[in-house]
């Protein structure tokens, strides 16, 4: 029983990390169709922003307040990644809409530049971010079964991000404009929507969410300039499996991959488990190339 519960929790935990990493990409790739290879580096930027916040707290704040740096680190990571995403969109991405191969190459190049930049500023070795003490330990549900608070916190953070994104995309004026532009750019423009502004905001928000993901990743281990490269493949896999353009699909994709990953690793071992997950994804996409949640409608196209 406890083995089952623990595996279920592990699956959920991996799913939540995958989802957090993929959420930003669900916007930049899923909605905007930009193959953003620099997504991993935006995650890395978020992680280093958390590192910086921690250092600032260490230097400037009394020690008693140190534990609260993480609360501030989340918006800071979002903000810095948001601004960098905005700059990236205005200086580069906007010239590459509708040119997937060019944007793939260009964003990959940007990713390399950002990695090197991080290496020059923070040095090549990994740095450690000390997680706040209130996230140490775990929730004991029965003997020998401990659910670490950090993992629980990440699950909560993902849910919070999802809810915020849902309200922004589906309930706000800005979100309505965003969906209109992504579905039918010309018509949205003819109605008076400023498509330039919407593009820039959308990309920046996707980047900001990548920053939050980076912030969360500091809880799991040390961070380095190439942090993003470990996650970029997973992120694309989640979005493609889930079905491009749908938030629900991304959630299902992340849960599916996370759960199966845990299951297969439990049955076999870590590397074979990963291979099996990949095989399943490839087979599934052969059967349903549009992913789990495909857009279907009586639209006239």
């Amino acid at each position: 029983m406890d083995v089952f519960l623990l595996q279920l929790f592990n699956g959920l935990s991996i799913s939540s990390i995958l989802l957090l990493v993929a959420l930003g990409l669900a916007i930049t790739f899923g909605l905007m169709k930009v193959i953003n290879m620099a997504h991993g580096e935006l995650i890395m930027i978020g992680a280093y922003s958390t590192y910086l916040t921690q250092n600032l707290f260490n230097d400037l704040m009394p020690e008693s307040l140190f534990n609260w740096y993480f609360v501030l680190a989340i918006p800071v990571s979002f903000g810095i990644a948001f601004v960098i995403g905005l700059i990236l969109e205005m200086s580069l991405i906007r010239f590459l809409y509708g040119r997937p191969l060019d944007s793939l190459l260009a964003t990959w190049g940007v990713g390399l530049v950002l990695q090197q930049l991080a290496r020059s500023i923070f040095g090549a070795p990994n740095v450690a971010v000390k997680s706040p003490t209130w996230l140490d330990g775990g929730l004991k549900i029965m003997d020998g079964t401990l659910l670490p608070y950090k993992r629980l916190f990440i699950i909560a953070l993902v849910i919070a991000c999802l809810v915020a994104m849902y309200f922004y995309i589906y309930r706000s004026h800005e979100g309505r404009r965003m969906r209109a532009v992504m579905q039918n750019r010309d018509m949205a423009a003819c109605l008076g929507v400023s498509t330039r502004r919407v593009d820039a905001m959308t990309f920046a928000i996707g980047s900001g969410i990548a920053g939050i993901a980076g912030c969360a990743l500091t809880l799991l281990g040390p961070i380095g300039p190439s942090l993003g490269t470990y996650y970029i493949v997973d992120a694309f896999m989640v979005v493609v499996l889930g079905g491009v353009g749908k938030l629900v699909g991304t959630v299902l994709g992340a849960t599916g991959i996370g759960m199966f990953n845990t299951l297969f690793e439990y049955w076999t071992n870590a590397s074979l488990g990963k291979v099996l997950v990949f095989v399943c994804i490839v087979a599934f996409l052969q059967w349903r190339p549009m992913g789990l949640v495909a857009m279907r409608s009586r639209s006239l196209d």
Binding site: R179, Q183, N184, D186, M187, A189, C190, L191, S299, L300
Partner: protein, 231 residues
Amino acid sequence: MLAVQQLEAGYGESIILRNVTLKVKKGQVVCLLGRNGVGKTTLMKSIMGLLKARGGSVSYNGKDLTKKAPGLRAKSGIGYVPQGREIFAQLSVYENLLLGLEAAKGKVNEVPEEAIAKFPVLPAMYARRGGDLSGGQQQQLAFARALASKPEVLLLDEPCEGIQPSIVDDIRDVIRAIKNDGKTSILLVEQSLDFVKSVGDYFYVLEKGAVAWEGGLDALDDEVIRKYLTV
């Protein structure tokens, strides 16, 4: 007054419109006629700004719009109901209407009554997705969406294409009602001669991307029709 002067436009290498000059005066219903492929939709798109003009100008109330983006033209009072309706399929009917408010003057958060009143079927379908509506319903939605911002000029590109006769009658009534109000002028592209004759004040006939004939309702006789419009 919407004025198009010596407009030239096209796609890629090919030029579609040559030297098109036309005017839509306040409160007028101006109809654009012509066989398939003479450039009617291209002209509508160039007026709206979806196609860049190669030469000539588009101006509204003396303000030059030739270099302006579609959004700014919408905000200066031009509403557009495109061919194929272009409803946002994944958005709800109500959201589609709210997007019509983007070009409205000032901060408006509610769709004006008069835009809806003309299409009484719409409120019952607010929660449905735009893409799930039938062609005729989508056409009415596109019409209402364009009216939501209270435009001063309305560009209607084949509003009756592929639509059942009763809704065609409804649309005719709406156009007449707009005309009687006298606040909004209309530039209408339509294939059905009966339809344009029943609503139009002034007519332009395009041929090979240029204005081949223009005149009022009385002048639009059988000879003109035979020469420019019969296939």
